[in-house]
């Protein structure tokens, strides 16, 4: 099995706020991320697809195809958007790295028909990221 990874970057704003918490709780739990007018990040997304190279083309899937899927499913939905208010799939969720990575997995997984989605890694900054895998993917399947 071969893994291939495509990286894209998008910029978006968000705020962490749970309406079921008091103002004090929101501030204590989410800190600066609770600032009322939100803030933004340059997100880096790494999408890894697993599969066997096609004997004729030598490709797991055509990178152009993956690029188009990422453009359609992620860039058009999230780039230069407010994740709380403009991304329907995140409505009612706190747009943390963990939740965004999971939503991106759910968007991409059914669209990738050659090979199989292996990992979604979303960086909010170079020092903070979330990984989303298929549960039970063993070490052999990951390396």
């Amino acid at each position: 099995m071969v893994l291939l990874t495509r990286k894209i970057e998008f910029a978006a704003s968000h705020i962490y706020h749970n309406p079921n918490f008091s103002a004090e709780e929101n501030r204590r739990i989410f800190g600066k991320c609770n600032n009322p007018h939100g803030h933004g990040h340059n997100y880096t997304l790494e999408v890894t697809v697993e599969g066997e190279p096609d004997p004729v083309t030598g490709m797991v899937l055509d990178l152009k195809e993956l690029k188009e899927i990422l453009e359609r499913e992620v860039m058009q939905r999230m780039d230069h958007r407010h994740l709380n208010y403009e991304v329907a799939e995140l409505a009612g969720q706190i747009p943390t790295c963990e939740n965004i990575a999971r939503v991106i997995w759910q968007l991409l997984e059914p669209k990738i028909t050659r090979g199989r989605l292996h990992r979604v890694r979303l960086y909010e900054s170079p020092d903070l990221f979330a990984d989303c895998y298929r549960n039970g993917a063993g070490a052999a399947g990951k390396s």
């Binding site: 943390t96 020092d127 903070l128 979330a130 070490a139 390396s143």
Partner: protein, 146 residues
């Protein structure tokens, strides 16, 4: 969280420290041959990057596996405070009798962070320079992912 998916939180920390690779079990010549420049008598230093990966359920109320402030405080107290701007050989008791290679550093940091109470430590990756890095996942069979 859907059980079909597994989420991990990754966080990077930095510290600078000196070390000298030298084993009391080897002769001077052997130390010099095995460790090369890293055996120079007065040590040398690196800017280390520690990548910590934690797994767990994403709390629907916060969207988080673990609160970053809790993780940052824990790593600060367990590792960074003792390691940053120190000599690993002289200032960290674990390396008094153990060569402070980055392999051993990974294991030491894993042992210190595996008691984090709010999520499961999956693996530690330590970058010694931009060109080499080491990973340790303890007994986690799934730890060896890319």
């Amino acid at each position: 969280m859907s059980n079909a998916l597994k989420l991990e939180l990754g966080r990077r920390y930095r510290f600078s420290a000196s070390h000298r690779l030298h084993s009391a079990h080897l002769s001077e010549e052997e130390n010099c041959r095995v460790f090369g420049k890293c055996n120079n008598p007065h040590g040398h230093g690196h800017n280390y990057v520690v990548e910590v990966s934690m797994s767990g359920d994403v709390d629907p109320a916060t969207g988080m596996i673990a609160n970053l402030a809790d993780l940052d405080t824990f790593v600060e107290n367990q590792v960074l405070e003792e390691f940053d701007h120190k000599s690993l050989n002289e200032d960290v008791p674990a390396f008094r009798h153990k060569v402070p290679t980055t392999e051993n550093l990974c294991i030491e940091i894993f042992q210190r962070l595996k008691t984090f109470p709010k999520a499961k430590l999956e693996r530690i990756r330590v970058q010694e320079t931009g060109n080499n890095s080491f990973e340790y996942a303890g007994d986690n069979l799934e730890g060896n992912c890319p």
